[in-house]
Amino acid sequence: MRYHAAKTFEEAASIAAKADGVTRFLAGGTDVLVQLRAGLVTPDDLIDLKHIDGVQDITRLDDGGWEIGVAVAGARLGAHEALCADWPGVVEGMELVGSTQVQGRATLTGNLCNGSPAADGVPGLVAAGAVAKIVGPDGMREIPIEEIPAGPGKTTLAKGELIAAVRLPARGAGGGDAYQRFIPRTEMDIAVAGCAINLRVEGDTITEARVAIGAVAPTIRLVPEAAELLVGSTLDAATADALAAAVSAAANPITDKRGTSEFRTEVVGVLARRVAQTAYDRAKGDRS
Amino acid sequence: MVEVNLWSGMRRFVGDDLTVEVEAETIGEMLDALVAAHPALKPVIDQGVSVAVDGEIHQGRHVPIPQGAEVFLMHRLKGG
């Protein structure tokens, strides 16, 4: 295994593009090291991104949005009051990844690039309409987060491409987001089902909504038909039930050691109802 | 004489009567006498048994059996 401490994204991309064996990028390392130790993946080239300028930064953009560096650990997201105020759902999703110790290392981008359908950090980004800033041999591009996962353990990134940062849009008035997952214990489990909802209200009425679900399909995905049910409503009981049904209908989970298909399908609907309420309350000004 | 209470799975080695009388003053003598009277019991006893004498469970052969004591043969106990 060759270890590279890249100084720029271009250098990292160049090393990756030229490598002919197994390549891994090291940000938080909480997935890479587990795979390395278990003998599942021993990279030929391991490219450490933490020595690149700005990768630890959380930056407010001119348009009011946010840029989150590739090596920002979950604990730092949670400690950033302004970001938490704008995007509590994004932050709470990332904070559910692993233990306090893991929060000291794990990153949003790593959570995304690991390609797990159950990644807790990702549904919130998808619901928020976040984009990934990608550096590759052909320069830089931006694509929506939901276009990155390609299936369990896979992404759409090409050889030599890597994510330099994640960008969140400006929160704007009347916005609220939330994420919840279901796990059998209270902590330390991989999500059995997850749901993030981001919405905007005018008065009591929802005017915009995005619904993302996790752990119930090969990738984390948007459920636009569920979001449409929310728009125009005041999240009355009938709408919440219809939302739950639509989300369950969009789920296409497997049965595995973590849960049955039937259970996941049902519970993701339950979560959608609960998450919508939290997002709605937050949008109306209750920041809890 | 000691009256020994066997477990019912031993019926096929000793017949229907699950209480067997043997001449013995210790657990070891009792086990030896049992095997002498019913040789088919030997492999079962060799695998290890615990013996309750008046409610107290013993593993050792040296333990004396008082006159009139209540004696039960049990599967050997083991803990975690």
Partner: protein, 748 residues
């Protein structure tokens, strides 16, 4: 019964700091993996990826060619001709003709670094012929199941039983038919529990060294180093006394560290590597795949009950698999099943069944939790059906001293009724409950064990004392042994140091198992202290020129027994010790034996749960453990045993369990998916120590370590039923199972 009633003791019942506390909070304590030796090599083990496969060929040439590799061993390096348990241990240590479970060791390698050893292990090529496998106990007991080993049944198994049945149990008494006929309600149900792992946080680790001359040493984390010595010597054909085994501090065991796994491999590798020491540390995945889980069980229970709650008859038929070797704790499960109840008629039938899983090791009260899960659930179900209070039914049928036990003999002094009464009196028993909340209670039982024990105490020149004990300290037993020794000698607790010594320093000691360390080692330490007191009195008598019988030991000093014995000031232990060189030499006391006098321990747990009706997730709101300790020597560590046992039982009830794929491979061999309770899963665990002294121990001790894991399984099932109306009869009661059961009740 409150512990404060026993104030006649100076030290017993107090809570001093444990002697090993400082080492353990500073990181200095040395566990299995913490020792290295000059010239040390690292070992790694190659394990079968198949549940059942014939080993066609093992090619070690590439590994041997790797620089830094010093030894490779396979089964061909072990002696042949072993039989019985010794063959089983050898076969489990290293597969012979067949790999019998996913994770079964097939080869091992030693090299100059950990990474090099792991590389070499990956270079060993094993050719397998995959065979049909069987995992579930109810499948394994079928007549046409894949046969794991011909001729493995022992003498208890009648002709014509299915091929994987290796032991058969049948015992009972009374007229069962008449008992059921007399009942107003007879119910029979089937209950299933999944295999769980002891889950000690310290993975198995050892450092072994063995020369061509057959002399060897080992440093190892174990509950019993004499067991390790005997088993390693048996498996490798060594003379036992030539192997010196030193126990490290042990990072949890719960029964799982009472046997060998990779320890003989380190010795075999060392011998082949010219006697260089070899360290092997298991990964968590190896621990879960290849070391002792407990058995899985499928259990039919039938009970007869009168309208007033009187039990008339009970029948239990248990099937358990304990892996590819005999040893599922069916026998003990059966003995424990109805132990808390007076029953005029009872019958127990059991089958120990082979399956393609790792060899079961003991796990805290082996068999009792499964049995309780079945019996205590059914009792609760029947109480509900008859509209009876489950606590009153337990009290009505509770066994007392002199009652005949379900397993045969009459009970000596026991504290079940006192335990149930103390439970009723606790505020948790009557705390108000909200919506979706429910309360469950259940009893539990464990026999406890005395066993082979050898202890020496020795005086130092300053009158302080060392105790040499042979039972590794898992949960604070050095503190309790020091308390009992100091109490007996009449000296301060701090003046006693308890050392857990290596195999050469004492006669054979059984492991710390069967809840016996404080009971048996404590009892032997008291006897050893009494022997030393006798010698000290003799020395004083010689000094004073009086009859040794006229000297008594009071408050840490010899003194004349009454005015007729002579007038001498008391001679303190420090004075006697200071002069011992000139009064006859060293003073020590020794006691050894196969110790009896054990007292069984009953417990009762009360749990309040809240179940999320939409997701099936169970939250433990309150938890109470009440248990008879006989006498609590160090109450804080007694409480610790209660709380730890309850937590393990809660894990077993809710989320732990081995998950196998269709391919027979273990799917959850990491802590991420083998879900032991975490801190946020549990509330504070309330405890009440009931003290009904055991007359078989000088201070009245009953073993307390094991009973606590028994009641949680049924108590939580009973609580979930109370909260939801749904009865879970299969563990684990994880959210998918609970939600499905809730929906079934609702007819959805």
């Amino acid at each position: 019964m409150a512990k404060d009633e026993f104030r006649e003791f100076r030290l017993v019942g107090t809570r001093p700091d444990r002697p090993d506390g400082l080492d353990k909070v500073t990181g200095r304590a040395r566990y299995g993996a913490d020792i290295s030796a000059p010239g040390m090599l690292w070992g790694a083990v190659v394990r079968s990826p198949h549940a059942h496969a014939r080993i066609v060929k093992i090619d070690t040439s590439k590994a041997e060619a790797l620089s830094g590799v010093k030894a490779v061993v396979t089964r061909a390096d072990f002696p042949t001709g072993l039989t019985g348990d010794e063959w089983d241990l050898q076969e489990n240590t290293m597969a012979g003709d067949k790999a019998l479970y996913d994770g079964h060791a097939v080869a091992a390698v030693a090299a100059t670094s950990k990474l090099r050893a792991e590389e070499a292990a990956r270079l060993i090529e094993v050719e397998y012929e995959v065979l049909p496998h069987v995992i579930d106990v109810d499948d394994a007991i079928k007549p046409d199941a894949p046969v794991i080993r011909e001729g493995a049944a022992d003498a208890t198994v009648p002709e014509g039983m299915p091929p994987n049945v290796v032991r058969y149990f049948e015992h009972g008494r009374g007229d069962l038919d008449a008992g059921f006929a007399e009942a107003d309600l007879v119910r029979e149900n089937t209950y299933r529990t999944e295999a769980t792992h002891q889950g000690y946080i310290e993975p198995h680790a050892c450092l072994g060294q063995l020369g061509e001359d057959g002399k060897g040493e080992m440093w190892v984390c174990t509950q019993g180093h004499w067991f390790i010595r005997k088993m390693c010597a048996d498996v490798l054909g060594l003379e036992k006394s030539q192997l010196r085994v030193t126990p490290s501090e042990i990072g949890g065991g719960f029964g799982g560290k009472t046997t060998i796994f990779m320890e003989p491999l380190s010795l075999a590798l060392s011998r082949k590597a010219g006697g260089r020491p070899v360290k092997i540390v298991m990964s968590r995945s190896e621990v879960l795949r290849a070391t002792g889980p407990t058995a899985s069980a499928s259990m039919d229970v039938k009970i007869g009950m009168k309208k007033d709650g009187t039990l008339t008859a009970g029948r239990a038929e248990f099937r358990m698999q304990g892996g590819a070797f005999w040893g599922a704790p069916v026998d003990m499960a059966l003995d424990c099943a109805f132990a808390a109840y007076k029953l005029p008629a009872v019958m127990h039938i059991g089958y120990d069944v082979l399956a393609n899983r790792p060899k079961a090791a003991a796990y805290r009260a082996p068999g009792s939790p499964m049995a309780a899960c079945a019996v205590e659930s059914l009792i609760d179900e029947m109480c509900r059906e008859l509209g009876l209070d489950p606590m009153e039914v337990r009290l009505k049928n509770a066994v007392r001293e002199g009652d005949r036990s379900s397993y045969g003999p009459k009970f000596k002094s026991i504290g079940l009724v006192e335990t149930l009464e103390a439970t009723k009196a606790h505020p948790n028993f009557s705390a108000p409950l909200g919506p979706n909340q429910g309360r469950g209670i259940a009893s539990g039982f464990w026999f406890n064990h005395g066993g082979e024990t050898s202890v020496t105490i020795a005086l130092s020149e300053d009158g302080t004392v060392t105790v040499s004990a042979g039972t590794p300290d898992i949960g604070g037993s050095r503190a309790s042994i020091a308390l009992m020794t100091a109490e007996t000698l009449g000296i301060p607790y701090e003046n006693v140091r308890v050392n857990i010594v290596e195999t050469g320093a004492l006669g054979v000691n059984e492991p710390t198992h069967g809840s016996r360390a404080t009971f048996a080692t404590g009892k032997a330490a008291v006897e050893a202290a009494n022997a030393a007191i006798k010698e000290m009195c003799r020395r004083a008598a010689v000094e004073w020129g009086i009859d040794p019988e006229a000297v008594e030991w009071v408050d840490g000093a010899a003194q004349p027994a009454g005015p007729n014995a002579g007038k001498f000031p008391p001679m303190s232990i420090a004075e006697i010790a200071g002069n011992m060189g000139s009064t006859g030499g060293p003073i020590s006391g020794h006691h050894e034996g196969n110790l009896g006098g054990v007292g069984a321990s009953f417990g009762c747990h009360v749990v309040d749960v809240e179940v999320d009706p939409e997701t099936g997730r169970t939250t433990i709101l309150r938890y109470l453990v009440v248990q008879d300790a006989g006498r609590a020597i160090h109450p804080a560590y007694v409480e610790g045993q209660y709380q730890g046992g309850a937590a393990q039982g809660i894990g077993w009830a809710l989320n732990e369990g081995y998950v196998y794929g269709e391919d027979g491979r273990l799917q959850n061999s990491v802590f991420l998916d083998y879900r032991v309770p975490v801190a946020s899963d549990l509330p504070m665990i309330d405890t009440v120590i009931v003290e009904v002294p055991n007359p078989g121990h000088p201070f009245g001790v009953r073993g307390v370590g094991e009973t606590g894991i028994t009641p949680p399984l049924p108590a939580i099932a009973n609580a979930i039923h109370a909260a939801t109306g749904a009865r879970l009869r299969h563990l684990p009661m994880n959210p998918p199972s609970v939600l499905a059961a809730i929906k079934a009740v609702k007819g959805g």
